[in-house]
C-alpha cells in the first residue's frame, strides 16, 4: 500500500518538513506496519525549472525538429545564453509553440524517468548542426504520466496556479513527495488504511497530532433533488450488496486529468488514463472506496429501460472484462447487470462493452458496498486481483458510500464538466439516515493491565481523539464511539491495540512475569526421543530429516498401494510431494543410493541413517479426535555399504541393523520371523530375512533386508537392511534396567558349546539357557552373565554349533571350577532334553 506524505501533510498539523525521513520511517515501522520501500521524489527533479518558449522555428536541417529559444529567468547556471540571456534548445515534439510554458531539463540534470534505473544525464550537444542545451520534457520523461506524444504544456488549469518562469518544477507541481510503501498484510483488518486518508490519519496519531478528515468525509452527503427521468436502478441483493448507489452525469468532456492528479497517481503507482477514470482511481486511493464509471449511452443501448442492478450471475453467463479477458460466470458471482445483460463483475472489474472511452458523453457512476467473502471467492475463482478486490475483500464501511460519491461528483464537475443528469439512487439494507456507530466501553485499568502501562484517562482520550474517535471519559470508564471507517473495532482489546500502538509499544515498561518455584512438567516424549538420538548418533549413526510428503513411486516401490493407505494432497506443488508417507523406511531408502554414490566423506563407504518422524495411514484415527488421522511416532534406520566396504563384513546387513535395534531396546527385543507383508510397515521386507520385533509382548515394528523389487527400485546396494519401530510403544513397554550389586569375590569364565539342529533359533537356546542360570542363581546366590561367542555350521550339514561364554560369581564366596562345571552339566542336561542339544 503506497501512500503519499504530501497528501498526508495536507490534512494534519504534523510538521513533515522538519521531520527527518529516518525518524518518520522509524515511527511508521514501529507504530503502523513494516515499510517495504520508500521513494523520494524530490531528488528526481533537481535542476528542472518552468521555462517559457520565447521563440520557436523549424530546424533548418531537420523536418521534424524545432529550434527553440527559452527563457528560464536566468536561474540555471553554467549554460550558454544568447544576448537576451535565453537558452537554445532543439525540440522534437509536434506541440511545441511560441509563448508556451514548458518544463526544461538543463544540461547536467537527470531525466526523471530514468532516475531509478540507469540515470540518463543530459548534456549540451549539437543536433543536426544546432546546439541544444538540455531538453524540453514530455510528461513521461518527467514521470508524471505515460504520455509521450508531446511535451508537457504547463498551464494554469493543470496546476491550479499561474506558471512562474524559473520556478523549480518540483515546487510548482508539488512533486517533492515522499512515497512510503507499507506491507499490505498489516492492513488485512484495516479497510480504511487502503485509502491514503486512512494512513494519513494514523501517521498524525503516531506523532500525537489531531487529524482532520476533509469536510465531505465526516458528514452524510446532501444530494440535490433534480428534475430528471427515472432510471431503472434496483437492489434485490441486499444481503450481498448492503448498499448500492448510482448517479448519471452528462455533458462529460473526456480529456487528460490535471497534472497534479496525474502526478499523484503516478507516484502511487497508478497509470493515468483520462480524467473520468483518473477521478475514480483517485477517489478510491484517497478513501479506500472503489467506484466504477460506466458509459451511460452504452448502458442505455444495452437495456430495455436504462439502469443497472446487482444480481447473482446465472451459471454459464459470460462477460468480457476491461482488458479484453472473457470469463464464464458462476451462480456464486455478484454481477452488475442491466435488465438485458451483465455489464460488470461486481466489486471486481467493469465490462469492456460499457467502458468509458474518448467519445464518452455521459456516465453512470456506481458506488456500492459488497460482501467481502463473496468478493474474495469470485476473485480467486477467476484469478482477478484488482485494486477494487484488495479493498472490497477487507470489508469497506457501507457508511462512506454517499460521502465518496458526493466527492467524486464534485471532481467530475470540476475536471470533466459533468452535470448531474439523474437523481442519486441509494438502496441499502439499513437505514442510511440513522448512522448507528459502534460503541465500546472499556476501563482505563483494563487498558493499563493489558499493556503494562500507566496511562491516565486524559492521556487515553487524547490518543484516541487524534484519530477521530469520539471519547467520553468518566472516572476510569471510557466510552468510545468508533468512527464509521473503522470496521475492525468492536471489543475492548481492539481499543487496547489502538492505544498501545499510537502510544508506542517501545514506551511500555518491560517486566518479566513472577512465577512460582514449582518446576514445569517434564516433556517425556521429547526426552525419550532425544535419548534415542543420543544413543544412535553416539554409535556412529546419522540423523536425517526428510519430507513428510513423498512421490507415489516411493510408496509403490515398497509394494504399498498409495490409494489404499496414503493421504493424498490435492494441491501438491510437484508429483514428488503428493502423498503423506505411510512409513519412514521408503524415505530413507530413497536417500541411500545418492549417499553411496557420493562416497560421503570417509574411506569406508558405509553409514547408518535414521529418522524420527510421524506417519499416517488411512483407516487409523486418533482416539478422542476421531475426525483426525492417527499420528504414529516412528523411528526408522537403514544401514548401507558399497560393495568394496561390505567385504569387511561376512553375512547379512540384517545383523548390523539389528545391532542398532538391540542398542536402543536394551537387548529386550524379541525377533520372530516375519510372515505377513501386506501392511505399509511390513511390505518392504524380504521373506526369510526379516523379523517382527516386540518388547515385553508389545509389537514394536519390523526389521529386515529388503525385497528384490524394493532393492531394484531404489538401486540399493547388496549390503543394506533396516528397521522401523513405533517409539511410543517402545517407550511404554521397555523396562528400566535394574542395578545388580557388585560381588566382592572373584568369578569364573567358562565357554559352553552345543551342537543343535540347524533349525533352532539362536535366541530360543540362549533365552532358555539364560533362564536356567537365572533360576540357579536365585537359588544358590550366583550372579551370572551369558553371551554369544560363536556360531559354526559345517558346510552341507543340518546342524550348527553354538558357543556361549558364561561369567559367573557368587555373592559371598569364591567359586571353584568344579562347582561351576557341575552347574553347567546340570543345566546342559535340561537343555539336551529340551532341544536335543549335545554339549561339545
Amino acid at each position: 500500500m503506497k501512500f503519499s506524505i504530501n497528501l498526508a501533510s495536507y490534512y494534519s498539523d504534523v510538521d513533515y518538513n522538519s521531520l527527518p525521513h529516518s525518524e518518520l520511517l522509524l515511527r511508521i515501522g514501529s507504530q503502523l506496519g513494516a515499510v517495504e520501500s520508500v521513494e523520494d521524489w524530490s531528488k528526481k527533479y533537481h535542476g528542472i525549472v518552468v521555462a517559457k518558449v520565447v521563440y520557436c522555428q523549424k530546424h533548418p536541417n531537420a523536418d521534424k525538429l524545432s529550434l527553440c529559444v527559452i527563457d528560464d529567468g536566468g536561474v540555471t547556471e553554467g549554460v550558454d545564453r544568447d544576448e537576451n540571456g535565453n537558452v537554445q534548445v532543439v525540440c522534437g515534439a509536434p506541440n511545441v509553440a511560441q509563448d508556451m510554458y514548458v518544463a526544461w531539463i538543463p544540461p547536467r540534470s537527470i531525466v526523471p524517468s530514468t532516475y531509478n534505473k540507469d540515470k540518463f544525464i543530459l548534456e549540451s550537444r549539437e543536433l543536426r548542426g544546432k546546439m541544444s542545451n538540455g531538453m524540453i520534457a514530455s510528461p513521461k520523461e518527467l514521470d508524471i504520466s505515460d504520455s509521450h506524444e508531446g511535451i508537457l504544456e504547463i498551464t494554469r488549469s493543470g496546476a491550479g496556479k499561474e506558471p512562474v518562469i524559473g520556478e523549480p518544477i518540483v515546487d510548482y507541481y508539488g512533486l517533492d513527495d515522499f512515497v512510503v510503501d507499507c506491507e499490505n498484510k498489516m492492513f488485512t483488518h484495516r479497510p480504511d488504511c487502503f485509502g491514503n486518508l486512512g494512513i494519513a490519519r494514523e501517521v498524525a496519531g503516531i506523532f500525537d497530532k489531531p487529524f482532520k478528515s476533509p469536510y465531505w468525509y465526516t458528514k452524510s452527503a446532501d444530494f440535490e433533488l433534480i428534475e430528471a427521468p427515472r432510471l431503472n436502478i434496483e437492489n434485490n441483493l441486499q444481503d450481498k450488496v448492503p448498499r448500492f448507489m448510482c448517479v448519471a452525469l452528462n455533458n462529460i468532456e473526456i480529456k487528460s486529468s490535471p497534472v497534479w492528479m496525474q502526478a499523484y497517481l503516478t507516484r502511487i503507482g497508478i497509470k493515468s488514463i483520462n480524467n473520468v477514470v483518473d477521478i475514480t482511481n483517485y477517489v478510491m486511493h484517497l478513501t479506500g472506496q472503489p467506484i466504477h464509471a460506466f458509459d451511460f449511452d452504452k448502458i442505455s443501448d444495452r437495456s430495455n429501460s436504462a439502469g443497472i442492478r446487482p444480481r447473482m450471475a446465472e451459471e454459464g453467463e459470460v462477460l468480457k472484462l476491461l482488458g479484453d479477458k472473457t470469463i464464464k460466470l458462476s451462480k456464486d458471482d455478484i454481477v452488475i447487470a442491466t435488465d438485458r445483460q451483465v455489464v460488470a463483475l461486481g466489486g471486481i472489474m467493469g465490462g469492456l462493452e460499457t467502458e468509458v472511452d474518448e467519445n464518452t458523453k455521459s456516465i453512470l457512476i456506481e458506488c456500492a458496498n459488497f460482501d467481502m467473502y463473496t468478493i474474495r471467492k469470485s476473485s480467486m475463482r477467476h484469478g482477478l486481483f484488482t485494486d477494487a478486490v484488495t479493498r472490497f475483500n477487507k470489508g469497506q464501511s457501507p457508511l462512506q458510500n454517499d460521502r465518496v460519491l458526493w466527492y467524486a461528483m464534485k471532481l467530475l464537475s470540476e475536471l470533466a464538466n459533468g452535470k448531474q443528469s439523474s437523481n442519486v439512487y441509494d438502496i441499502a439494507s439499513f437505514d442510511t439516515k440513522d448512522d448507528q456507530l459502534n460503541k465500546v466501553v472499556v476501563k482505563t485499568d483494563f487498558i493499563n493491565n493489558r499493556l503494562g502501562s500507566n496511562l491516565s484517562d486524559a492521556g487515553i482520550k487524547s490518543i484516541l481523539e487524534n484519530v477521530e474517535f469520539e471519547v467520553d471519559v468518566y472516572e476510569g470508564i471510557i466510552e468510545v464511539t468508533v468512527p464509521f471507517w473503522r470496521m475492525d473495532i468492536s471489543i475492548p482489546e481492539d481499543i487496547v491495540e489502538e492505544v498501545g500502538r499510537l502510544y508506542g509499544y517501545y514506551n511500555l515498561p518491560v517486566e518479566l512475569i513472577k512465577r512460582k518455584a514449582k518446576p514445569a512438567p517434564r516433556s517425556e516424549i521429547r526426552e525419550f526421543k532425544m535419548s534415542l538420538k543420543n544413543m544412535l548418533s553416539g554409535a556412529g549413526a546419522n540423523e536425517v530429516l526428510t519430507y513428510s510428503f513423498v512421490h507415489r513411486r516411493v510408496i509403490e516401490s515398497t509394494g504399498v498401494d498409495p490409494d489404499k493407505w496414503a493421504y493424498h494432497l490435492r494441491n501438491a506443488i510437484s508429483p514428488s510431494l503428493q502423498y503423506y508417507r505411510t512409513s519412514l523406511i521408503p524415505s530413507l531408502l530413497d536417500k541411500v543410493h545418492a549417499n553411496i554414490k557420493a562416497q560421503a566423506g570417509n574411506e569406508d563407504n558405509e553409514f547408518a541413517i535414521y529418522e524420527l518422524g510421524k506417519v499416517h495411514i488411512k483407516g487409523h484415527n486418533e482416539e478422542g479426535e476421531e475426525n483426525l488421522p492417527k499420528q504414529m511416532r516412528r523411528l526408522a534406520l537403514v544401514v548401507g555399504a558399497d560393495k568394496k566396504t561390505s567385504n569387511k563384513y561376512s553375512g547379512s546387513a540384517y545383523y548390523l541393523a539389528k545391532r542398532y535395534l538391540d542398542l536402543i531396546t536394551d537387548n529386550q527385543a524379541k525377533y520372530e520371523v516375519l510372515d505377513t507383508f501386506e501392511y505399509p510397515m511390513t511390505s518392504p521386507y524380504r521373506k526369510g530375512r526379516s523379523a517382527r520385533v516386540s518388547v515385553n509382548g508389545q509389537i514394536l515394528g519390523v526389521i529386515g533386508e529388503f525385497k528384490q523389487k524394493t532393492v531394484n527400485s531404489f538401486k540399493l546396494p547388496e549390503f543394506c537392511a533396516g528397521f522401523e519401530i513405533d517409539t511410543d510403544i517402545l517407550q511404554s513397554s521397555i523396562n528400566n534396567r535394574k542395578y545388580v550389586p557388585l560381588s566382592s569375590f572373584p568369578g569364573l569364565k567358562q565357554d559352553i558349546t552345543y551342537e543343535v539342529s540347524d533349525e533352532l533359533a539362536w535366541s530360543d537356546l540362549y533365552n532358555f539357557l539364560d533362564a536356567e542360570f537365572k533360576v540357579a542363581s536365585a537359588e544358590e546366590g550366583y550372579k551370572h552373565y551369558l553371551y554369544g561367542l560363536d556360531i559354526y555350521k559345517p558346510e552341507k550339514s543340518d546342524f550348527k554349533r553354538v558357543s556361549f561364554r558364561l561369567e559367573v560369581s557368587h555373592k559371598n564366596k569364591t567359586l571353584k571350577t568344579e562347582e561351576v562345571n557341575s552347574l553347567i552339566d546340570k543345566i546342559s542336561k535340561v537343555v539336551d532334553e529340551k532341544f536335543q542339544a549335545k554339549r561339545i
Partner: protein
Amino acid sequence: MKQIETARANLRRKFEKIEDKNAILKDSEFKALFDGIRGIEPDKRSEYGKAINDLKTEVKSWIEESDEQDNEKEPIDVTAPWDVNTPKEKRPNFFNTTQGSIHPITREISDIVDIFQRMGFVVEESREIDNDYNMFTSLNFPLGHPARDDYDTFNTDEGLIAPAHTSTMQNRLLKKYKDNLANEEPIAVVVPDRVFRNEDLDATHEHTFYQIEGIFVAKKVNVGNLIATLSAFMNDYFAQNLETKLQPFYFPFTEPSFEFAIERPDVLKKNDSEEQKWLELGGCGMIHPNVLFEAGVDPKTSSGFAFGFGIERMVMMKNGIEDIRHFESANLKFLRQFK
C-alpha cells in the same frame, strides 16, 4: 539371427553384474542393434526389428523375475547376533562415534527448548495433519476470511490440512492446561515442530520447515511481559544483552499483534550499516479473547501472549549455511559436519 543372439548373451552377462537392474534397458547393446538395421537386407528388416523388440520384452521379464527373486537368498536366523560362520573380525559392529551426527535442526531446537524449560515452559509437539478447526477456526479466522490467504496450506482430498503454523496446537494446549489457571499456575508451553507452506523451493524457501511456538496465559499478563520474556530468551540464547523491538502487525489470533525484531547479535553482524542493525525474527501478540474463549479460558480473568519464529533461519545464520534445501536432503556430507 546372430546379432540378436550375441546381444542377448552380452546383456545377460551384464545383467547378472549390475546392481541397478532397470539400467539394463538403457544398455548400449540395444542402440547398437537398432543402428545395425541399416546393414540388414530390406526384406529382412521388419523381422529384425521384431526380434529386437522381442529381446527387449525378454529383458524386461528378467527384471520382473529379479523383482520376484525374494526367495533366492537363504533364510537367516533372525534371532542370532550374527550370521553363521562369521569370524570375529567380520561381525557387525557400530560405526565409529566420530562418524555419527545429530541433525542441526534437532540441536538448535534442543538449545532453544532448554532455555524455555529453564524459564518454566513445558514442551509439546505439533501435528502433521490437522483440521480446519484447529488450523483456522479456533484461532479466530472466520470461514472465507482474507487472512486465510496469507497461509498457503497443503490440503488432502478429505479437506484435512498440513499445518502452516504451530499455532494449530493453541486450542488443544489451552484446553489441556487450563486447569493450571485454577491452581494459580500459568499455562506456559512451547511447541517446536514441523510446519508446511505451499511454496516453491529455492535456496531460501522450503515448503517444509520448523517453527517454535510459545503460549503463556495467566492473570494480568501484559504486553510488557511479552517483550520481557522474548528479551530474556534472546539474551540467553545469544549470550548478549540485546534490544528487542515490536512492530505492529495483524494476526487474527492475537490482539494486539506484532512482528518482533532484535538488535543483531555480534556473532551475526557483518557490518555496522542500518540494515544490519535489526534482525526480524517472528510474530507475537496478546492472545485474542475469542481464542481463549474458544478453549474454555475466561478472557475476563486471564490474559496471555503467544509468539512464534522459524528455526532454519537461525541455524543458517549461525553456521553460514548457504542453502535451506540441505536440511531435508539427507546428504551425509552436510550432516556429518554437525556432531
